[in-house]
Amino acid sequence: MLNFSKIKILFIYLVFFLISIFCFSNFSQLEEYFFKKKINLGLDLQGGSYLLLEVDSTPLQKRHLQSKVIPLKKKLIENKINFENFKIIEKKISFKISKDDINKFEKIFKSKKNNDINVFLNQYNSFELDFEFLNNKVVINHSKTGIINLNTSVVDQSIEIVRKRIDETGTKESSILKRGSNRILVELPGIKDPERIKELLGKTAQLTFKMVTTDPSEFGNETFVLKDTQEKIMVSKRIILTGDNLIDAKPRFDNINQEPIVAFTLNRLGSQRFGQATSKNIGKRIAIILDNEAISAPVIKDSITGGQGTISGNFTFQTATDLALLLRSGALPAPLSVVEERTVGPDLGQDSIEAGVISLFVGFILVILFMAFKYRLFGIIANVALISNLLMLLGFLTLIEATLTLPGIAGIILTVGMAVDANVLIFERIKEEIHKENSNNIQAFDTGFKRSIVTILDANITTLIASIILFIFGSGPVKGFAVTLSVGLITTLFSAYFISRHLISIVVFKNREKKLLV
């Protein structure tokens, strides 16, 4: 165990050097590739905001089921299945059919080919809709995988829009990630007050233009209360224009009415439609509806064919700016709600870094003093191993560009405390071997190493198992703890098995006859 070939020694110190050199790149200002890698600071250390958003796909489920009504009815009639009491309530379609028809219905409903009513989702090996048959009543709703599928597509669309909205506010280095099937994780470093961003993300910003009607008998009319004048209006069902037709929106100041407004530009299709609708309806009113709220309903004075228009509605400059931003970045397919929020101010982050570094330093010094006091020369060897361990740990964290959190710093300190264990195990075992009769130094050290290495492995693997599980299940800052602890265990094994063993071998071969470690 104590014989090292020259190549092995070279290899050990090369590995040590190559890994630990990276920890210096954290302090370097050079922009060269090699020095680009840095340990990232977690939001709890640099300050910032962590938002977990959840998609509410209920309205989308409703809309999706509504879109199935006509093809479903058509299919039933085509196949001569008599149905009655066709209803759509909440997230369910229900209708009555006779018992004899149920098999026929099931065959149509669960056909895997060209099924436009109930699509078969290959990736989940299941249909998007499910049905139940009870008391002659068929109830159709989304299957579990159908909901997941819907959520996933909503999240995929939403992420882009969330990113656009956040970028538009001028927030830098934000990270926007998908979490599970229905969540989006937003990390905003440096943001002290996320309220504005939360507000912007809380709106779907679905904009529609519809005609105001005075005919109460028309089917599908909706009543709104105008936000600016509190006037009750009735709005026709037909959509003239949606936010999708917008290519740009900007806040402006209307000099005539002395109020902020939003000016928008339409795409070609939008301009055509808007032109037609406005020229046909001069003198009538057009309602501007945003997220089921009527903002205003101006009278059409002239046909608007240039694709340019404005929206007014008692805006302040801030609300006009926000609305323009929302319209520019597009509508969210479903509402998002914040289900978890953690914001740390930059000064608290700075305090945490200071406290973490001080406690790391003090803990380190205490352990080093203790080891030097307890083992003298060998204590110094253990301390050299400990320092190289720490350098490699920091280097490794830089190499994988890990995110350092406050619990992560605690993990490093804990590694310092626990890392000497490997050396203690070795020293104590060697002591025992020395106490045995008829063994010389080299023999005692050799057996001591051999015997203790099994224990060291066993003991460290158990801790490694715990920290890997913590990494998988932990969230946020706690994950940072698992990372530093796991990496620390690996570097501990390396430094004990190679570096301190090599240093010990040098000492032992120089002092063959002297009493060591007693």
Partner: protein
Amino acid sequence: MRKIYKYNFISKFKTANIISLFLVITSVILIFFKGLNFGIDFKGGTLIELRVDSINIKISDVRSSFSDMDLGDLNVKEFGKKGDYLIKFEKKKFNTENNIKTIKDNVKNKLKSDVNFRRVENVGPKVSAELLNSGLLAISLALAAMLFYIWIRFEWQFSLGSILAIFHDVLITIGIFSLLSLEINLSIVAAVLTIVGYSMNDTVVIYDRIRENLSKFSSLKISDIANTSINETLSRTIITSVTTLLALISIFVLGGAILRGFSLAMIIGVLIGTYSSIFVAAPILKYLNVSYKSIAKEKEEN
């Protein structure tokens, strides 16, 4: 074994085990009847850490600045330095009229001073339930993985012994948290998992030696072998505990208020874990009548 060891642990096993049993039962009773002080991570709710510079503002002023806002159960305490307060309340969900911003504005107005909101955390009911479940799942999985590892590396008696020792450590640590009404949050789960790893680590070192001695001195009784092994590894057990505790105490004292709960849990866990690897894990092998023969026999059968 000719050598007489300094300490006779065997004679103290009985007393120690009765104390352990008492502590475990008390902890379980505490956990069930007194309950645990779950933080917002697991209960849902909102946490605000703030700093006021004005010396005239007292804790009662901070408390009253948060009342009358319909925030549910409210808890205000001093946190770290003077002028730093930690406020926790039950309210989990906010709407557009009543949100964190309005709370902040209200508090600023009522305190009539500039308030630095250093930390704001809000966990919704769904997420807190998930965090609790994943925390419990993580701890159970860690225990299962340890069990499996020891079962592969040692015999089943060792596996059982080490798991009982870990349960002992975790239950008593959580029991102490319940007794002192200390907050259980995500970092405590991390601490518990680390305690599991540390306690296992400690137990494995002693078990390794017991196994080695079992095959070396096949004629000796398990209690003698256990005593020898504990004595042989004793200085290592103590030195490692000391260095780990040095590091942890440094975090506890200097690491700031946020890490205090975590480091306290770890300190308690390391002390109990060290104790249990000597006084819980080793006697179990004696009660299970582990001997060189019984182990060799089992190996043959497999």
